[in-house]
């Protein structure tokens, strides 16, 4: 039975490759050329390696991939792009960096390239709408949203069942559930929840993920559906402070060492059965379903990221877009790669290998839905998301890092939540003033 399935799989793969092979005719048009990519060292790297091999087969071009952890990735990308040395052709960059990269002139505008292609190939309307927006800055497209992440709240179906509670539908329920499982003799060796509390991007981004769901925002004029332009920071509002207090509360329901937890540790804690709940990005969801490594296989359920009672959830959206470096010497080859990789067919291949689903066709695809039951929650989530849940202006990285520093200091107990958010407010206000956003 297995052999036949494998055979069918191969045939399907072959059939999807064939149309592209025909496009590239008999010889390999890019034989001998090298395409340089830089990206983040997230779990999808192995999916990329597989798919890049396919690209090499078809076009003859060699794909060289440099991948780095999150902060280093940002560092290396900016240094390299600012240097303008043409080191890299294809840039995979995080949504909040969009403004920085666009304003810095690092990325090619993609409209001219898209215009020349068959619209069915590009299929812009097949992406989750929030993704299309994410790749745009001031109306121009700089990246294709191949790797959209959403935060889903994952929970242990078995533990919830024995405790007799339903998956959390609000922050209040989340807190109650986390408290229930921590230090509970009925559930030995388990903690309530794992969260990102490490100083810097991890906890900084976490603040931005939760603020909307506490009814707050970070700039006066930045919220879903806003038409007004007002860059006054709103970090030290009661909601802003409440998020920090919430983190302090939740710390006790986290495993020891949580203060240095970042994305990997958090996901591993859930995968190894240490915690009952973990709200993590979809990039790591397939980890929990990995038959080789996951200790919670078959016991994982997902639900939409909760908000406080009475507030409509705005689940966090994030993820990676793919664009062409303006300093690249291989722009045509880069575009060939990007349009091929982001096409519906190859995106499905990407998803099959654990890549984060970003297209409507993929999330509704029967085969994928059967293999990945959490697609249902993704489908419920993406319409609720807001593209600017984290700022995308050039100052974004710095702002998130400051929030990350101050919140982490509050968590360690060096300062109070009020003080932390006041500090952030002052810092960002000064920053926005000197950069000309505020008077």
């Amino acid at each position: 039975m297995k052999k036949i399935r494998r055979f069918i799989f191969l045939v399907v793969v072959a059939l999807t490759i064939v149309p592209f092979s025909i496009v590239y005719a008999q010889d390999k048009p890019f034989e001998g050329k090298t395409l340089n990519m830089i990206m983040v060292a997230d779990p999808f790297v192995s999916a990329f390696e597989d798919i890049n091999a396919m690209f090499e087969e078809i076009t003859g071009a060699k794909v060289v991939m440099d991948s780095y952890p999150y902060d280093q990735c940002h560092e290396k990308e900016v240094i390299s792009l600012a240097a303008g040395t043409g080191d890299y052709d294809v840039i995979v960059y995080d949504i909040p960096w969009c403004g920085e990269f666009a304003e810095g002139g690092f990325m090619e505008e993609l409209e001219p390239y898209i215009a020349k292609e068959d619209p069915n190939l590009i299929a812009m309307d097949d992406y989750f709408p929030v993704g299309v927006e994410a790749g745009k800055w001031k109306g121009k497209t700089y990246g294709l949203p191949f790797g959209l992440y959403f935060v889903l709240t994952h929970y242990r179906t078995d533990l919830f069942e024995s405790a007799g509670i339903t998956p959390p539908k609000s922050i209040e329920e989340l807190e109650k559930a986390a408290a229930l499982f921590t230090n509970n003799p009925n559930f030995p060796g388990v903690y309530g929840i794992a969260m990102n509390f490490r100083r810097g991007s991890p906890v900084g981004q976490a603040w931005f993920e939760y603020i909307w769901n506490f009814g707050g925002k970070y700039f006066e004029g930045v919220y879903p559906g806003s038409t007004k332009v007002d860059w006054t920071p709103t970090f030290n509002t009661p909601e802003g402070v409440e998020v920090v207090k919430f983190f302090q509360e939740m710390l006790q329901y986290n495993p020891p060492g949580a203060l240095s937890y970042a994305w990997d540790e958090r996901a591993t804690a859930f995968q190894q059965g240490k915690v009952a709940i973990a709200s993590t990005w979809t990039s790591r969801t397939s980890m929990y379903f990995d038959p080789n490594l996951s200790k919670v296989l078959g016991k994982v359920g997902t639900t939409v990221f909760p908000a406080k009672e009475g507030i409509t959830p705005i689940p966090p959206v994030g993820g990676w877009t793919m664009g062409i470096a303006s300093s690249s010497g291989n722009k045509d080859l880069a575009w060939e790669y990007i349009k091929w990789f982001c096409s519906k067919e190859i995106h499905k291949e990407f998803c099959k290998r654990g890549g984060p689903v970003s297209r409507l066709s993929a999330v509704n695809d029967e085969e994928l839905m059967n293999e990945f039951p959490w697609y249902k929650t993704v489908a419920e989530t993406f319409p609720l998301t807001y593209v600017d849940c984290r700022p995308r202006i050039p100052e974004s990285f710095e702002i998130i890092d400051v929030v990350g520093l101050k919140v982490s200091e509050a968590l360690v107990g060096d300062i109070t939540p009020e003080q932390a958010m006041n500090d952030v407010q002052n810092y960002v206000t000064t920053l926005m003033k000197t950069r000309g956003y505020l008077e």
Partner: protein, 273 residues
């Protein structure tokens, strides 16, 4: 010295050396381990010796070999240039009545004290406008500037220690200028030259910050490549160890060969006769 004291001294010396050296041994052992062995508790002191990590890191698609070559090229040429420019300057400073010499010497010495982190940003901008970012040449230029003050200072001190009489005797004996330089001064300064060459090479070989900022995929040096193993999670210890061992082997060899010069170089920096 009696047997007891001798024994005590050897004993203490060995303990001190062990403390100093165990991380090196640990590093080498780690480079032989497999992924699983890295995480084992209790820690494995003597894994089976296997070179698969070395092969993995220095061959194939993501080979670190080019970076090793970059380090070699940059260290070698920066040392060469530094020695040439530096010995000229040291010679001029030590043997000639240059006006304002005392001030010049102070100035050169102060530059030696300057922390690289203070000038790294302008250097980045300068190199960028010269289109020398991510090139070996760019890094060589910067390293020469870092090493020059030290080299001049040490060599000048060394040359001053060589009595002028010998050279004057040679001149009286009929040697001309140039012959005196080549036959007398050069051989006498050989230990000094050896010392500064080694320090210069070592500095360039070990340097991180400038390389981090000024190089990219093409001119990356080995320390940068090693720093890239760092991540908040999932550090590939075995790979990092293999690359590091390759990096430190030349240093270890050189240290043993030239240890006398090293001691002299360090103390020359600290002790005035």
């Amino acid at each position: 010295m009696n047997i007891k004291s001798k024994f005590l001294i050897y004993f203490l010396a060995i303990i001190i050396v062990l403390i100093s050296v165990f991380p090196i041994v640990w590093l080498v052992m780690t480079s032989f381990k497999t992924r699983v062995e890295i995480f084992s508790i209790p820690p494995i002191w003597f894994p089976k010796i296997s070179f698969e990590n070395y092969i993995a890191e220095f061959s194939g698609g993501s080979s670190r070999l080019p970076f090793l070559f970059n380090s070699l090229k940059v260290a070698f040429f920066s040392t060469l240039i530094t020695i040439i420019i530096g010995s000229l300057a040291a010679f001029g400073m030590a043997r000639f009545p240059v006006p304002g010499k005392r001030n010049l010497e102070f100035w050169i010495l102060s530059i030696r004290m300057m922390p690289p982190v203070a000038v790294i940003i302008p250097l980045y901008l300068i190199m960028r406008s010269l289109k020398l970012l991510d090139t070996n040449i760019g890094l060589i230029i910067v390293y020469v500037s870092f090493n020059l003050p030290f080299v001049i200072w040490i060599l000048a001190g060394f040359l001053r220690g060589i009595p002028k009489d010998i050279e004057e005797a040679a001149l009286i004996d009929g040697c001309n200028w140039f012959q005196s330089l080549v036959r007398i001064s050069l051989p006498l300064s050989a230990p000094g030259l050896a010392t500064v060459s080694i320090f210069s090479f070592m500095f360039s070989w070990n340097e991180l910050l400038a390389a981090l900022v000024l190089t990219g995929r093409n001119a990356k040096t080995l320390p940068v490549a090693i720093s890239e193993y760092w991540s908040t999670t999932q550090i590939r210890w075995e790979a990092m160890a293999a690359t590091s061992v390759i990096h430190i082997i030349p240093i270890i060899i050189v240290t043993f060969l030239i240890q006398r010069y090293i001691v002299r170089g360090l103390t020359m920096g600290a002790i005035k006769e």
